[in-house]
């Protein structure tokens, strides 16, 4: 394409993006997208803030007794006390007596050896928001497909369509990237100022944050634009114009990507098994959660297809309809299923951890505060991820309900009771929430938690029953929470579903 043609295409893209922006549904979509991307930016900045904390040199803090405690890069403490003051090193601990309270950071952040784990956790929390943003980018995609088809009919090239799709989200991405810093400051107030000393998770904003901010903003814009270009589904838009959505089965490239990520995951696990104390083990332990979440999100659509096929085999109309709908578009619910699989795994691990600590008979206040605080923080993060995943489920399902409102109304016209249609949606929601969450909980509690419990228990008699009990409790917690989430999602879908079932929907385009 010549420079002039590209400029004309950009100009046309801007006109279309502006006119589409006037649509109330489009404005709502942009607000949701902006909120999701802002949260992504805020957690990325949190990762930057924690990762760069203490890089300038040892962090020195003054204790109430007048000693100076410097935390070195290896996580150790150097204590310098004034003459006549003697404070045992154990007092500079986390159990409440302490102190390095010029920052008041929790040891997970204060100690450099534990800090990478918090960075990984912050990065993991980006994932549910990114999945949510991806769902929102696809929101209204049926209408967008028709719009793109109409443009194609008028001579727009594939490149034009991609530009238009990119233009639709570029501005929103930029605003979200910029809003990331204020959002991070809000997060810092919540997690870095309000908690009591020794429990704070985010350090005071420093210069590194100002440097990281534009980088994160650019990252957010680029990711949003790439996602929008992909969601434009230009491959299915032809000049004859699309009036019906087509099934989008999973492609071979999707299978390859999933296989590669799973391969990396298995490789990491093998490395860890073969050399649990090797030099690379620390890095592997940190990277594995990220790889696992990537693998879960990549494998999610395949899990959804498998569940859908199982429903179809059951033969009853509710299961068949739910199964066919899952198979027709497995990507949207699959990403949520992947996040919930990871959430279930984390729940399994946390539950096993709690049971292991409880039964190991620990009484040391530092240990209890350290592990208890860590588990509470992890549970809060898991809860946040689960809530965002549930919202993604609502967004994806409402898109499908709206997109299929005419066939849904026709189904009711044919004589399907409204309750039957509701059961179809409920089956879909539960299939992509409860099953992955329970599966993740079983794996998490059995493998990670079981291993942890064994290590903690030191071969005591209660270890095996405790590990089994952890599996049961994890399944109940994860499954119950997922079922509650699915019920909440179904409740939020009540109105669009009722609209889809109404006779007026028979007239919709």
């Amino acid at each position: 394409m010549t420079r002039g043609a590209a400029a004309r295409a950009r100009s046309a893209a801007a006109v279309v993006a502006r006119s589409v922006g006037g649509d109330p549904a489009e404005r709502r979509r942009r607000r949701l997208l902006g909120a999701a991307l802002t949260c992504c930016a805020a957690f990325l900045l949190a990762a930057v803030a924690v990762a760069t904390f203490g890089l300038a040199g040892p962090e020195c803090l003054r204790t109430p007794g007048g000693s100076t405690v410097c935390v070195d890069s290896g996580g150790g403490y150097t204590v310098t006390s004034p003459p006549g003051v003697s404070e045992p090193i154990d007092d500079f601990s986390f159990g409440g007596r302490l102190v390095p309270d010029t920052s008041g950071l929790a040891p997970y952040v204060g100690e450099s050896g534990l800090r990478p784990g918090v960075v990984v956790a912050a990065l993991l929390l980006v994932v549910p928001f990114a999945v949510f943003a991806l769902q929102v980018v696809r929101l209204g995609s049926a209408a967008r497909e028709r719009r793109l088809a109409a443009l194609r009919l008028q001579g727009a090239t594939s490149a034009d369509l991609r530009r238009i799709a990119a233009a639709e989200v570029r501005g929103t991405g930029l605003v979200a990237g910029v809003a990331g810093l204020p959002a991070y400051l809000g997060l810092w107030l919540l997690l870095g100022v309000l908690p009591p000393s020794g429990w704070r998770l985010l350090p005071t904003p420093a210069a590194a944050l100002v440097v990281g901010w534009p980088v994160v903003a650019v990252l957010v814009v680029v990711a949003a634009v790439l996602a929008a270009r992909r969601a434009a589904d230009v491959g299915t838009v032809d000049a004859l114009g699309l009036s019906r959505r087509r099934a989008r089965p999973l492609s071979r490239s999707s299978a390859t990507t999933t296989a590669v990520i799973l391969g990396v995951l298995v490789l990491g696990l093998v490395l860890l098994f073969l050399a649990p104390n090797g030099a690379a083990a620390g890095v592997v332990v940190l990277v594995l959660p990220l790889v696992f979440v990537a693998a879960a999100v990549a494998a999610g659509p395949w899990i959804v297809v498998a569940v859908g096929r199982r429903h179809v085999r059951r033969g009853n109309p509710v299961a068949v309809l739910a199964g066919r709908r899952l198979i027709a578009d497995p990507r949207t619910p699959g990403r949520v299923a992947g996040v919930l699989l990871a959430v279930g795994l984390a729940v399994g691990f946390a539950v096993s951890d709690v049971i292991g600590i409880f039964l190991s008979g620990r009484t040391d206040p530092y240990d209890l505060a350290f592990f208890g605080g860590g588990i509470l923080t992890a549970l809060a993060a898991i809860g946040l991820a689960a809530v965002v995943a549930a919202l993604s489920l609502v967004v994806g399902a409402s898109e499908q309900v709206l997109d299929a409102r005419r066939p849904t109304a026709a189904l009711v016209a044919l004589g399907a009771e409204p309750a039957t249609v509701v059961r179809v949606v409920r089956t879909q929601l539960r299939s992509v929430s409860v099953l992955p969450a329970v599966g993740g909980a079983v794996v998490g509690a059995t493998l990670l938690g079981g291993w942890f419990a064994v290590a903690e228990g030191g071969g005591r008699a209660w270890v095996v029953p405790a590990a089994l009990g952890a599996v049961v409790v994890a399944v109940l917690v994860a499954g119950g929470a997922a079922a509650l989430g699915a019920a909440g999602a179904q409740r939020l879908l009540r109105r669009p579903l009722a609209e889809a079932m109404s006779v007026e929907s028979l007239r919709t385009a």
Binding site: A247, G315, R325, P407, A410, L411, A413, L414, V503
Partner: protein
């Protein structure tokens, strides 16, 4: 066309009681509507319409766009409850039935064909046709065999395993006709069934629908603004601005 089968015609698949009960088409009026009024916010669609359809009768409801044809059909089929007036379908006052009871009545004794087929996009043609039977608890194998039988009768056997997105408009309408007839209904409602088709495909689908209904002795209420469609009916009821402007007996 050979006489159409009903769910009970399949060997080894006895019909559910309610389906067996629908096989003898009732004599007399299958549909009686009196003083039907309905409005959408400020737009009045029907202003006191009366309509009677006898057993075995093919009635065309015609009129310009926005005259209330589709609203009348929706009220007659129990898809909406009119704000005033009564609709009695197969001896049952629709206003006295719950939403689920109306759904059950439609599923078991009424067939519906809509303008764009409105097939369930995630199901193949054969599954779409089998769906009303499956919803009614019919065994899956029997339902699919009957669906295939009806697809063949409607000339759509070639697309039995095809998804709606890969069908032409005419093929989708043939499948929709098969779906409307598979339960052996006493009355079929069709809303612009040829409206989205070219002349030839429209003529074929209409011929198929009318022939199947006449052979069965069922009634057909067809909403259309196409005069050639109306010409194939027994009686034409013309609506203008929400009221019956004229009625003409054509056969």
């Amino acid at each position: 066309m050979t006489p159409p089968s009903t769910p009970g015609d399949l060997p080894g698949t006895p019909p559910p009681d309610h389906l067996a009960a629908t096989v003898p088409v009732p004599a007399g009026a299958v549909l009686e509507a009196h003083g039907v009024q309905h409005a959408y916010r400020r737009t009045v669609a029907l202003r006191g319409v009366d309509l009677r359809v006898d057993a075995g009768e093919v009635v065309a409801v015609t009129g310009p766009s926005g005259c209330g044809k589709s609203t009348l059909l929706h009220a007659a089929a129990g898809l909406l409850v009119p704000q005033a007036g009564t609709v009695t379908l197969l001896g049952r006052d629709l206003a006295r039935l719950t939403e689920d009871e109306r759904a059950l009545l439609r599923r078991r004794e009424v067939g519906i064909v809509l303008q764009f087929g409105q097939l369930v996009p995630e199901l193949t043609a054969v599954d779409n046709v089998a769906l009303p039977l499956l919803l009614d608890g019919h065994p899956a194998d029997g339902a699919r065999r009957l669906a295939l039988d009806w697809l063949e009768r409607c000339g759509a056997e070639d697309v039995a395993a095809t998804m709606p997105s890969d069908m032409s408009g005419g093929e989708a309408q043939r499948v929709a006709v098969a779906r409307a007839l598979v339960t052996g209904p006493s009355v079929v409602f069709a809303d612009e069934p040829t409206g989205s088709l070219d002349t030839l495909a429209g003529r074929q689908v209409l011929g198929l629908l009318v022939a199947a209904v006449r052979e069965r002795g069922a009634s057909l209420v067809i909403v259309t603004h196409d005069n050639t469609v109306a010409a194939r009916s027994d009686r034409e009821v013309r609506l203008v601005d929400g009221t019956v402007a004229s009625e003409a007996v054509l056969r």
